[in-house]
């Protein structure tokens, strides 16, 4: 029994905002429809997490931000997240896109990297054809609501056969918890293209007390035949934020999708990442790490849906749980009838640092085809006292011994991260969250 206000938005308010931003009619209609759908659809119900008790309707209100002329104007905490070498940068602050840059070389090759609001005006054909095609608008209240009020966002299009060497970066941050923060990311990698995209989703509040804010984010990735997309994301926001994130990639013949997910957010999290292996020979790899602290609740799901023949997926999740934090970690390998020779492997491991923390690892295999391979491993354990004793017997203090073991637990995922800047940043954030 949810007694929450069904939706804080309606057709009129959504249309008015869309209109005021000068959005095309098709988008205004999509938003209006989303607002209507949201009134009747239900919230998603993640396993073993009472998400309906979260402040899901604390959506804030739209606030326009002025564009930045350079990254020098960013707050220090955000500026230090800038990659040393990137070929393009898009920044969203609260409800608005505030900066976009793309190297002239990539522009000349036809690469588009901008905010999604701009893209829906300037590249309407591409956007309209893909927006809410990987994640349907009417899946649940969250997707519907998001379709009504998404703002800023990221749009990336890589044309056929174009290989982007350097990563493209996005910074998405909230510095005003009364402002709606609902980025939508749309990535399209056309045939045989190759690209790496990295984003940071964060906050810059300083020390001021903040009110709760439900941050919705949907990521849609389209990997066309033979294309390769690497998507690295790190979420590290203050604990007033409720992070509701759905990521989904649709992968066509011989395409490859790689996810690297750092869920290091301090508040409640719904994080659901799926690869839809539609084309034959398509592959996907997902690596996720998370640290839970205080009393945060986390529903962390990675999934792979095998539709095409000879598709392969690999998923690895590692989480460290402190204090009274709760994490429900689901790995879902689904192999549809007809996906012969498919191979899906998953591993979830949870390290418990506190008797009051909770960590569930749930490997779920749903297999409707005989001629396949699938494997899973899951474990939940504590820091091994024999290991601590062994390290201490060499003079290492108990505290350092535990630190070595915890970092060692995450290392097999962290060390696999192919982008050095992301790896180092993740390491720093891990350090902070583990020590703090």
């Amino acid at each position: 029994m949810s007694t929450q206000l069904s939706t804080p938005v309606n057709r009129q308010s959504v249309e008015a905002l869309s209109h005021s931003k000068g959005e095309p009619a098709w988008l205004e209609e999509l938003r209006a429809k989303g607002a209507e759908l949201a009134e009747t659809l239900e919230w998603p119900k993640p396993e073993k997490i009472k998400m309906d008790r979260w402040n899901l309707t604390a959506l804030g209100s739209h606030k326009q931000q002025d564009a930045l002329t350079s990254t020098d104007e960013l707050p220090e905490a955000i500026r230090e997240l800038l990659a040393h070498t990137s070929a393009g940068l898009v920044i969203q602050r609260n409800s608005s896109p505030v900066l976009k840059q793309l190297s002239p070389e990539l522009q000349a090759k036809g690469v588009i990297f901008t905010d999604l609001e701009t893209a829906s005006r300037e590249h309407a054909d591409l956007v309209q054809k893909h927006l809410f095609q990987a994640v349907a608008q009417d899946e649940n209240k969250l997707t519907a609501l998001h379709s009504a009020l998404w703002n800023g966002g990221i749009f990336l299009y890589v044309p056929k056969n174009v290989e982007v060497e350097l990563p493209l970066q996005a910074l998405l941050y909230s510095d005003d918890s009364t402002a709606t923060f609902a980025p939508h990311v749309l990535l399209i990698a056309d045939n045989h293209s190759r690209v790496t995209y990295v984003d940071n989703v964060t906050t810059a509040y300083g020390s001021a007390e903040q009110q709760p804010l439900a941050k919705q984010m949907i990521v849609e990735v389209f990997v066309k035949p033979g294309a390769q997309v690497r998507y690295a994301t790190v979420h590290h926001m203050a604990d007033n934020i409720i992070d509701l994130t759905i990521r989904r990639a649709v992968i066509e013949n011989d395409g490859r999708m790689e996810w690297i997910i750092g869920d290091l957010h301090d508040g409640n999290i719904l994080s659901d990442t799926h690869s839809i292996l539609r084309g034959k020979g398509s592959t996907s790899d997902a690596k996720a790490i998370s640290v839970g602290k205080n009393s945060q609740q986390m529903s962390l799901t990675t999934g792979a849906v095998h539709i095409g023949r000879s598709t392969e997926s690999n998923m690895v999740t590692r989480a460290v749980m402190k204090d009274k934090a709760t994490a429900i970690i689901n790995g879902i390998t689904k192999i549809e009838k007809g996906a012969t020779k498919a191979n899906g492997v998953q591993t979830e491991k949870v390290l418990m640092l506190s008797p009051k923390a909770r960590g569930d690892a749930n490997p779920i295999l749903l297999i409707d085809e005989d001629d396949v391979k699938a494997g899973h491993a899951a474990s939940v354990g504590q820091v091994n006292v024999e290991q601590v004793y062994y390290l201490m017997s060499r003079g290492i203090t108990k505290q350092n011994a535990e630190r070595l073991i915890i970092h060692g637990f995450l290392a097999p995922v962290v060390s696999e991260i192919p982008i050095e800047a992301v790896r180092e940043q993740l390491q720093r954030l891990l350090e902070r969250k583990l020590e703090g």
Binding site: Q387, L391, R394
Partner: protein, 279 residues
């Protein structure tokens, strides 16, 4: 007395140099239990710098318990007795403090730790005793490590592998000796270092130990085969039964045990079962 202990703890080497004192390790009436069951029933032993002591005895007589209790394994509870290293009260120290005070145990079953490379681990161990601000330089560390690894005929890649993970039994034992060489302890306990070693590996390990013999370092070698003692000649040999040292002698005792076994000692003692009766 307190001043002496503090000095020995914080600056084991400077203490030694300053007072020109050779290592002196003394176990006095040590009793220890596991889960309420007494295993060690009063051990007395004294080891001075330069000496190699061997403890022999059949399985189940408490030899490994002695090693673990001395190092401070959390499973074992010391119920009585004293252990002193250069006058400092070992039993009063946490495991890491014992190590920094100069105690080293080469374990029978070293832990495997995923994600922690051998070299990171070794460097942490070395820096733990050097203290903050005085960390060993990376170059110097690598040079030292590689030269010791060469002595032990270890492949360089072991430095970058996760600690003991996927190591064979022999590789783990070599890795224990590598740690001993890098850490440079005052009192070394080798717990069944020979188990699982083929003859070539045994020779390498023995050479490693022999190269570390010096006037200010003591050794306590625990084994139930005399084989290792063909390569490392002990000065003193002790036989353990029923949780006590029941016989002590020189190297000639090893030969007699080799040819006659342990039955004659049991007869002398008038016992049938030499074990401590572990369930």
């Amino acid at each position: 007395m307190i001043i002496k202990e503090d000095l020995a703890l914080r600056h084991p080497n400077s203490w030694r140099e300053q007072f020109n004192m050779a290592t002196h390790f003394k176990i006095d009436g040590l009793k220890a239990s596991i889960e309420g069951k007494e295993i060690l029933k009063g051990i007395n032993l004294e080891i001075k710098g330069g000496e190699v002591h061997a403890i022999m005895g059949p399985n189940g007589t408490g030899k490994s318990t002695l090693a673990s209790a001395l190092m401070g394994h959390p499973k074992y509870e010391v119920t009585e007795g004293e252990v002193q290293l250069d006058g400092a009260d070992v039993l009063d120290m946490a495991v890491d403090e014992r190590s920094r005070a100069g105690l080293f145990l080469a374990m029978q079953y070293p832990s495997e730790i995923t994600g922690v490379t051998n070299s990171d681990f070794l460097r942490s161990a070395i820096n733990a005793r050097r203290g903050e601000g005085n960390e060993i330089s990376l170059i110097k560390f690598i040079r030292q490590m590689e030269s010791k690894m060469k002595e032990l005929d270890m492949n360089k890649e072991f430095a970058h592998r996760y600690l003991n993970e996927g190591f064979s039994g022999g590789e783990k034992k070599r890795n224990e000796i590598l740690q001993m060489m890098m850490i440079d302890p005052k009192l070394v306990i080798l717990d069944e270092i020979d188990s699982g070693l083929d003859i070539d590996a045994l020779k390498i390990v023995a050479n490693g130990v022999n190269s570390m013999r010096s006037e200010d370092r003591g050794f306590l070698i625990i084994t139930h085969y005399q084989r290792l003692l063909n390569y490392i000649t002990p000065d003193h040999v002790h036989v353990m039964m029923q949780g006590r040292i029941v016989k002590s002698g020189g190297p000639e005792l090893v030969e007699r045990l080799e040819s006659e076994g342990y039955d004659w000692i049991k007869e002398e003692l008038g016992i049938e079962d030499e074990t401590v009766g572990q369930v």
